[in-house]
Structures are given as C-alpha cells and as structure tokens.
Symmetry: C2
Amino acid sequence: MRKTLKDVAALADVSSATASLALNGHSSRVSADVIERVQRAAKSLNYQPNLLARGLRTQETKTIGFISDVVTTTPFAGQMIAGAQEHAWSKGWLLLLIDTNNNPSLEAAGIDALHQRRVDGFIYASMFHRIVKIPKGLVGRQVVLLDCTDEPKKSRVDSVIPNEYEGAMSAMRLLLSQGHRRIGHVTSREVGVATVERLRAYKNALAEAKIPFDASLVAYSASADAPDGYDGAVQIFANKKAPTAVFCYTDRMAMGVYEFAQENGLSIPRDLSVIGFDDQPFLANALRPALTTVRLPHYEMGSWASERLINLVNDEDSDSTKPMRNYLQCPLVERESVAPPGS
Amino acid sequence: MRKTLKDVAALADVSSATASLALNGHSSRVSADVIERVQRAAKSLNYQPNLLARGLRTQETKTIGFISDVVTTTPFAGQMIAGAQEHAWSKGWLLLLIDTNNNPSLEAAGIDALHQRRVDGFIYASMFHRIVKIPKGLVGRQVVLLDCTDEPKKSRVDSVIPNEYEGAMSAMRLLLSQGHRRIGHVTSREVGVATVERLRAYKNALAEAKIPFDASLVAYSASADAPDGYDGAVQIFANKKAPTAVFCYTDRMAMGVYEFAQENGLSIPRDLSVIGFDDQPFLANALRPALTTVRLPHYEMGSWASERLINLVNDEDSDSTKPMRNYLQCPLVERESVAPPGS
DNA sequence: GTGAAAGCGCTAACAT
DNA sequence: ATGTTAGCGCTTTCAC
C-alpha cells in the first residue's frame, strides 16, 4: 500500500504535524534529532507526499498550464515547450499541456480543465509571433504570453517575443559589411509582426548605408515556404540588374532561392549570398552550403516564460508595476552562404 | 471568491451530496427537478469543480504522465505529444509532461514528481525507435511504451512502435515495381531497430525479386544526416555499375543523395530514383523534386498510446491477457523522386 | 519543540 | 430521492 505521512510519523514516533514540519525544512521549529528520525523513516518507507492533498490544503500546485495553438505543425513548438518545461522542472514545477487547435471552444474548455486542476498560472503560447486576444478564462489569472503579445495599448500581461527588427538588422548589416549594395528581399504577402518588422529592418538598414530603396528588389509571395522563395527569386531576378545577395523572410524561402540559384547556374555564395531567418532545425544547417541565418530563440523564450510565471506566482516580481514585454535577441548564425560579392 | 460545491448546493437548496450526484450524471439517483436546479445553480455561479479534491477522494486524476527523453532535438516529438495529448483530451484527460534529457537521475526524480501528483498512468516515450529498460519507478504501474519496447522476452508492458520492416518493404517494392534492378541502400553504421529492420527489408525485397544481393551497393555512414547520405552516395557510385535507384535510411540522408546527384549531373528521378524514410516535416515535401518516402506514424503512435493507457486505467482492456506490442503501419508517401529507370 | 484538531472540496456509505 | 457523516492526506493554527 501507498505510504502516507501518518505512516512516516508513526514510524518516527512523532505526530504527523511534526513529521510535516520536519520534512518541509522548518528546521527552526523542530529538533535536529526529530528531523533526522523523520527523514530516515520517510526514506525507508519510500514516502511520496500526495501533492493533491497538499495542493488542496495550500492552494498551490506548482503546476503551469501550457496552452498552445497548433503544436504539431511547427518545428519550433518542441523548443518552446522544452524551454518552458526544463526551467519549470528545475524549480520543481511541472507543465500540464493543452493544445487548442486554434478552436476557441476547445480553448475555453481546455482552460477550464486546467483551472479545475488548479494550475498556479498559465503560459499562453502561439506558434508564430503575433498579436492575440487574451481568452476570457484567463483574465484575472497569472499569465505570461509566449511568442505573442496582447493589444499594445491595453496590455495587461507579460509577454516574451523575439526581437524581429534587430535580428533582421543584424542579417542586413552582415550583408552590407561584406560589401553588398544590391540586396533583394524575398518575403511573404501575409501581414504579421514578423513580415512587417523584418521588412522595416531591410529598409532601414539600406537607408543607414545610404542605399536607395528599390521596390523591384523586394518580392512578395503568397506564403513562406520553399516554392514561395523560388517564386520570389524569379521575380527579383527579372530585373535588369541582378542582386548580389538576398535576405529571405524564412529559411524555407531560402531553400527555394537555393533551388533557383542551382537551376540558373548561380553558385552560393560566390555568385549570390543568401541569408535566412528562423534557423529552422534540420533545414538551415542541412542545406549545402549551410545557410547563414538568424535564430529565433524559441527555447529561451519558453524558458523565460516559465521563469517569469513562477516568479509572478511566488510574488517575487510584483515590484515591476506594469506588464513587461520582453524582446529576446535573435542571434546571427553565420555559416557558409554569405561572402563578398563577386568573390 | 472561488465557488465550491457547497455554494452550488446552497443556491439550489439541496445538500452538497445531492449536488454532487446531480452534477455527475447519476440521474437515476436524483429527481429531474433537482438536477435541473443544481445545474442551473452551477452555471450561474460558474462553478468549476476542484479536481484536486475529487482526485484525493477518488484516487483518480484523469492525468497521464508523459515521460520523454530528449524532446527538443527531434522534429517528431511534437507529433507524438500532439497525438497523445489530443486523444487524451478528447476523453477529458490531460498530459503532465517531463523531459528527462536522457539523464537517469533526472528521470527518477521526474517519475517521482509525476507520481506525487498522482497521475493515473505513464507514457514512456523515446525519440527514436529502440529497446529500453523500464525505469524502476515505473514497474508495477500502468505504463505504455511509445516508440520503444522493453526486452522482447520479459516484456511486461504494452508498446506501440512503427513497423519498420513493412515500411521499408513497401519502399523497396515501389522501386522494384518501377523496374529498378540495381538498387543501392544508403544507411548508417549505428545499430538499432530501424537500421537493422530496414536493411533486412532491403535484402528480403531483393530476394523476393530474385535479385542477388550485392554488398557494394550498400553504404554504411557514420551517422544519418545529410552529409552521411552524401558520403554513402559517393561510396555506392564508386562502383563500375551505378545503381538506378537508392533507398535511403532517412530523409536527411536522401537530402545528401540529392546533393550528390546535383553535383554529378544526375537528374532525379530521370537518372536516379531516390526514396527516403521518415517523411520528416518541412524536409521531405520541401525538397525538389519532392521526396517519395515512408512516413513514420508518430501522431498515430502517440494517439494509440493515450488510448491504450486510458483503457488500461479504466480496466477496459484487461481481457487482453498479455502485454501487446502494436506495430503501426508506415504508409508510403509517393511524391516525385521515383520513376522507371532511364525514363 | 511537539501534539491535537480543524479544514481544504469532494464523493461514497449509510441513514432516512 | 435526499441528507448526514466520514474521510481522502496534507498543512496550519493553537494549545501545552
């Protein structure tokens, strides 16, 4: 049978109250001798505290509800979850997972289910960087937003997102520093934080380098996959003056640009430098030549979300009066697809 | 304040025991009128049952402990988790997640943590198909193994794994049916269920077609990534008589074979047919031409693991006397990288 | 420094 | 058909 605190107490010949004190490190309130005896008893019985009972009593579960939209279709989800889970676990917390499939009623029911299990707080994760509306079931609770933010003005909760702009800036600056002056941008027509910010950086980096913006050098494709990158390359190279480098909205699009280059006898990086964005696992590093890109810090975002949430619950960050928005750096990952023009 | 069953009972003017009965669908034991009143009261108070209290009382939590080795480094983890989570959730169950990082002491502690939260059972997941030893903390508990099995002989628990052999068979049969007679196999030196079974299928399929086995047509590389596939292709093509098709151990290796083909002016599938294994997201379908491959049914395996475990806990599969090993089919995914030789 | 007792919110036996 | 009571296993006053 399963051992309870009472069993431990009996074996150590103390009351269960004392046993509780002894096991939970309230060393000031109980004699060293008793602590010793109780711990020995607990070990010998392989005592595992019942956290349901403790949670019922203390109103804390050391459990985080992790709510995500579509886990399955993105290669980054695992990293966010891993970051969140590993930090949580390092503090003795666990993650209770729910995937809403972007279905609002599933989401509401999922939040209820989490709440009924009395999670101490919620991580609300999006699988791509965007602005979300906080679900009704989450208002008034401890929440941190992961890879998304709520409405800028009425923001009521903390969030962690990638610094798209600076990431794109560092990509552009690398190209510029290598001497490129004609740089294309292959992006998607979809409007979102990422497309907008990365394009903005593209333009500003050009301005910084005193290079006039040339609209024919940016191509907007339908989506952001390899075929879209291929299409974008086709558009850009329809110009009289071909670019010597292209900054791609995603690594997948860069993959399409690689194909275009190959078909047209362009050697990367000799004839064309290519830089991506995302550092998508098993793609960016698998391309030949390996793709220089900007890494989205999914693991770190997940980790920060956990840390922040736990601090919030423990009331340790309450000094920070207003909700914070944490922009995490997207580090440049230099590999082999960038070189000076005509090298 | 948080509403309890007592509040609901008071509002509906019944005892909390009756309210409990009414809400939990024991319609035979309580009058229709009371059910109506109680449900109305619950709704108006937005009553959320405390599952800690219920669990403490009933000794069930409708929660599964999901233990995995390295979640983060594999693109398939998300699909296994999603499969498990979505099935569980369809039954009102949730997943409590722990990632052990392949560290035995972390694993033991993680199992304890799950156990302390009184999960009803465990899914023990491996991120690649292999034979595992059941951790001590799990023996005697409800467990199903996901993408792994325990020792064949002394098997004590259920498991779900991909049918590597049949999957590889169907890949080979496709090649054969297209008329290929000289087929290479690019694989890894690493010994595991997958390498062994896929190689076995390669040999048997050849035998089935009465094609003598030619050892110079199989290349063993150090690992299973794109560069290894490239290396393998180099080895195989060092033969006097080049193969017209290559069966690759993984999609990543197939990617390396693509590079080799490209560098050597071989057009896929005209000059060389290539078939992979895994159907790795964002890779197999992104290659040009899109890679024909065999899909590892990660989502379905996860889903089955959940289903089986829940049935086990509910004692609904107890009729099946001995532990079962469920081999899931790996479907052939036909895309564009296979054609008749010399077409 | 230690024990007795109450109570977290629920369900299940047992009365009525 | 409904109410009373006990108890799941823990923590936390409050006595002593």
